[in-house]
């Protein structure tokens, strides 16, 4: 099963999205990171590194994010990964809330990575 990683500046934001997804698609591999790790807004390199490792699935991983700097931190982590692991991770520019729901539903239906990314590409924002 493809895994889903949600990154935000705010922990509350991704916790809320996790609640929304939980109502509709239970039991999917879902990982969240929000805030700077000390209760403030921002991003936490160590936590993002940790969840990207936890989220690793041979079938693939999709990252959705809100604002640019969270994804930059994820990209720093990805640069440190071995190429075969890095190549399983796709970053989507779909809107975080709606994209998360679409991705979660696709994942719970057992869709492959390429199909899910195709569905998300149609929703892409400029970000």
């Amino acid at each position: 099963m493809v895994s889903l990683v949600l990154l935000s500046h705010s922990l509350k934001l991704v916790e809320g999205i996790r609640d929304i997804i939980g109502e509709m698609a239970k039991g999917i591999p879902l990982f969240i990171s929000g805030g700077n790790g000390t209760g403030g807004l921002g991003s936490d390199y160590a936590q993002i590194k940790d969840i990207l490792h936890q989220a690793y699935r041979p079938e693939g991983t999709i990252i959705l994010y809100d604002l640019g700097s969270t994804v930059m931190t994820a990209e720093v982590v990805m640069d440190e990964l071995a190429q075969d692991m890095k190549s399983t991770i796709k970053i989507s520019k779909a809107p975080l809330v709606e994209g998360s729901v679409v991705a979660a539903m696709e994942i719970s239906g057992g869709a492959p990575l390429t199909d899910i990314m195709e569905a998300l590409t149609e929703m892409e924002l400029v970000k």
Binding site: N36, G68, M72, T73, V76
Partner: protein, 208 residues
């Protein structure tokens, strides 16, 4: 410049950031998310104890600084300055470097920032200071003037670059959401980059 000098330089940069923490956050309050000074101060505060280690090459000092900033800053400046110093580290694996080594590393560091931020010059980012500084130092390296004078000229280029950001609209980062309301404001990332150049100029001035 050897590893010990590099440690001293980064300590000076940390002091410069700490001294201007409030100012950087004020700039970021105007057009960003009001945390640039706080974040960088936390990052460089964490770098300081790491600089007490033993380093053989200049690059090792850059790498330690980079990894600490990536781990502790928490905002966009973490991955950006982290990538910048990390890419530079890769090009500075020597016990002693000269101005042309530094210029070569700076160019690689700037390429790293462009790739990480998907940004170019003229988008109201730290690149609007870093690229003019590179051009100035490149020019100085070919004329063979002392490093101290080269950095004095580079500091002027950095100041001009910062002033220039007042005249342009941000198209990258949080300030881009403001549209033309970002006009008239200095980019905070430019200012922190300028402060680093200022520290380098002061360091070389003190050494000469």
């Amino acid at each position: 410049m050897n590893a010990r000098d590099t440690v001293a330089l980064f300590k000076l940069i940390a002091k410069e950031i700490e001294d201007n923490k409030t100012y950087l956050t004020e700039l970021d309050t105007a057009i960003g998310d009001a945390d640039h000074g706080i974040n960088l101060s936390r990052g460089f505060g964490a770098v300081l104890p790491k600089l007490e280690g033993e380093f053989e090459t200049v690059g090792e000092v850059f790498k330690t600084t980079a990894m600490t900033l990536i781990s502790t800053v928490g905002g966009a400046s973490g991955p950006l300055y982290g990538t910048f110093f990390l890419k530079m580290a890769g090009a500075l694996g020597k016990a002693e470097i000269d101005l042309s080594d530094f210029v070569g590393a700076l160019e690689i560091g700037i390429e790293g920032v462009k790739a990480r931020g998907k940004a170019q010059k003229g988008e109201k980012t730290m690149l609007d200071v870093l690229i003019p500084v590179l051009d100035s130092l490149k020019n100085a390296a070919t004329t063979g003037i002392p490093a101290k004078d080269a950095f004095d000229e580079a500091l002027q280029a950095a100041k001009d670059g910062c002033e220039y950001t007042k005249t342009i609209i941000a198209t990258k980062g949080r300030a881009s959401y403001l549209g033309d309301r970002s006009l008239g404001h200095i980019d905070p990332g430019c200012m922190s980059s300028q402060l680093m150049v200022k520290a380098a100029a002061a360091f070389l001035g003190g050494k000469a």
